[in-house]
């Protein structure tokens, strides 16, 4: 019979129409500003800089080695290396970025900067609320806007951040052990050194004592 398929189709759309008012499960739309889907852990959009501790200037991990700047395919990273050095999180004097800009309107979210960073200083962010009234300045992120704490990093990528924290703690422990060993050695060497020093003082004392003579 002609039109049978049409009637079947009409029944199907009618079922959808009324069904969508009856069962909420049919509506898969997420009403965005009010409702949000949970993000998967591997979500990424644009890079940010990690800092340890409370002060973003003090705790910044970046040492301005400029590897990311060189590797960046679309060249969206701009770094000025500092003239002086500041102690980093491990207490070692390091250079720091005087300027660190990322133009996220150019960034293609490839994560190569993250892959190449030897200091775990640059990581991928998940914040996608980036609309701006100024399409040039508003999307050019400076050092301050890029800096986010290690706690934030732990919150957005827990597994990855925990692994990095463990690695850094190990490194820190190694350094501590080394420092302790050095201190111990120093402490052990102290009496000897003192004795030697005394001896040294004594030894040259003789000629010195004798010199004027």
């Amino acid at each position: 019979m002609v039109g049978e398929g049409i009637l079947k189709g009409l029944a199907e759309t009618a079922r959808n129409f009324f069904g969508s008012y009856v069962s909420k499960d049919r509506l898969t739309t997420v009403q965005y500003p009010e409702q949000r889907e949970p993000q998967i852990e591997a979500t990424r959009d644009f890079p940010f800089l990690v800092y340890d501790g409370a002060d973003w200037k003090q705790g910044m991990r970046c040492v301005a080695c400029q590897i990311c700047e060189k590797e960046c395919p679309p060249k969206c990273i701009y770094i000025d290396k500092s003239k002086d050095k500041k102690p980093d999180a491990f207490g070692k004097p390091q250079f720091y970025p005087a300027t660190f800009n990322i133009d996220i309107s150019v960034c293609m979210s490839c994560q190569i900067c993250v892959e190449v960073c030897p200091f775990d200083a640059i990581k991928m962010d998940v914040d996608y609320h980036l609309s701006s009234e100024n399409r040039f300045g508003g999307l050019l992120l400076n050092k301050q806007r890029l800096s986010k704490s290690n706690e934030y990093y732990n919150a957005i990528h827990p597994t990855e951040a925990a692994a990095i924290d463990a690695q850094r703690a190990e490194e820190q422990a190694k350094l501590d052990a080394k420092a302790k060993a050095a201190a111990d050695a120093k402490a052990a060497a102290e009496p000897k050194a003192a004795a030697e020093a005394a001896l040294a003082r004594k030894v040259p004392a003789q000629p010195s004592a004798g010199d004027p003579q």
């Binding site: 019979m1 049409i6 009409l10 759309t13 959808n16 129409f17 969508s20 509506l27």
Partner: protein, 397 residues
């Protein structure tokens, strides 16, 4: 008499009396002109509002058919969405192609909207609520309706774009093909009513046997005529599944590819106004115009019945749009010439048989058979299986 029965006739005629009251303040020489302006303004306001409402209802309805919410952000339940759309289309840049024929390009949307609105002059929206009671009303309606084709071709030609021209050609081929069954489907009513006046046709249907009205749709030929008329009306107003003139996948937006901003909105408006007009004519011809569906409901104001019927037909249009995919050009033409045309012609014959047979069960039986049999016959002709062959290419291999 109950208070309702006393009060309702006044409410039914409220627009008519208000119009008379307003006109009584004018000198007699100005009255015909003022009356015309008043009616035109009322029609434009009423149907433009209905257009705004329909765009919203359509988007919400289609959304629900696809298990979505549809627009629900602007105002409560998205009620102000048409307003936002209007502001948007008014503030958008109006681009005219550099090689376009500027005058014709400008005139096409205006002509389209004008032609679409002209049809309302003969539609009885309520009891005593018709702008012009022409004795050739239906003829007038079809005459102004066909000037829509001219506007469409003007738009397609003046844009100087291949997509526009192809879209216009498709649109005209389609509109002319379906104009024939559209007119032939309404001929049965004219035969039965013996008049071309829309007011006379409605008055003829607004009588009751028991509680049942004498609508033409409740006869075999009337029902067939109504269905055929609505199919042809869908094609005439370029709506899904007959929306080939604006097939996005192949010709962008058809004849209004090169239109933007408010001119595009005018095309959009014209399309919907045309759809309401043909639906209004279908209501007038087959569904008893402004008359109530049961004799005990005649106290409800007549214009409410008209708009209730119109909204029902719009809902069906939306339902169809949410269900059917677009036809292919050859399917479209086959449907028009192999199914619609023979069916409408046969239906004219059925109406004649109905007229000359004595009333009773036999007449119903004979006429129903005369509707169903050709439907199956011509329908099976449409369903003929095509032999598909492997396509061979002569030059590219």
């Amino acid at each position: 008499m109950t208070p309702t029965a006393l009060f309702m006739p006044q409410l039914d005629q409220i627009f008519v009396t208000a119009s008379h009251w307003l006109l009584s303040y004018l000198p007699a020489a100005l009255q015909p002109l003022a009356s015309a302006i008043l009616s035109v303004a009322a029609i434009i306001v009423a149907f433009a509002t209905l257009f705004a409402l329909t765009t919203l209802l359509e988007r919400k309805g289609l959304g629900r058919m696809q298990n979505r919410y549809g627009p629900n952000r602007v105002g409560p339940c998205g009620l102000f969405q048409p307003l936002a759309d209007g502001v948007k289309s008014l503030t958008k840049e109006d681009i005219v192609p550099i090689r376009a024929d500027r005058a014709v390009h400008f005139m096409a949307p205006i002509l389209l909207v004008t032609a679409c609105f002209m049809g309302y002059a003969v539609l009885p929206i309520g009891r005593n609520m018709v702008m012009v009671d022409m004795n050739a009303g239906v003829l007038f309606f079809f005459a102004v309706g066909s000037s829509m084709e001219l506007a469409v071709f003007m738009a397609g030609w003046s844009s100087r774009s291949k997509y526009s021209l192809l879209g216009a050609m498709r649109a005209i081929a389609q509109m002319i093909s379906y104009e024939v069954p559209l007119v032939l489907a309404s001929v049965v009513v004219l035969m039965q009513a013996g008049s071309l006046s829309t007011v006379a046709i409605v008055n003829m249907q607004a009588v009751y046997s028991g509680i049942w009205p004498h609508w033409f749709v409740f006869t075999p030929w009337g029902f067939a005529g109504f269905v055929l008329f609505m199919i042809a009306a869908t094609a005439e107003s370029n709506r899904s599944p007959f929306d080939l003139p604006e097939g996005e996948s192949e010709i962008i937006a058809g004849y209004y590819t090169e239109y933007s901003g408010f001119k595009f909105a005018l095309f959009f408006l014209g399309e919907y106004i045309g759809m309401f007009a043909t639906s209004g004519l279908a209501i007038t011809l087959f569904l008893g115009g402004w008359s109530a569906p049961f004799s005990f409901l005649t106290w409800v104001p007549s214009y409410l019945w008209f708009f209730a019927k119109l909204l029902t037909i719009i809902a069906i249009f939306i339902w169809i749009r949410g269900t059917l995919p677009r036809l292919r050009m050859d399917q479209l033409m086959n449907l028009a010439w192999q199914f619609m045309l023979p069916m409408t012609i046969f239906n004219v014959l059925t109406a004649g048989v109905w007229h000359y047979m004595p009333g009773g069960l036999l007449r119903w039986l004979v006429c129903s058979t005369m509707v169903v049999a050709p439907c199956i016959l011509f329908g099976s002709g449409l369903k003929q299986k095509k032999k598909f062959q492997v396509r061979t290419y002569h030059f590219s291999q």
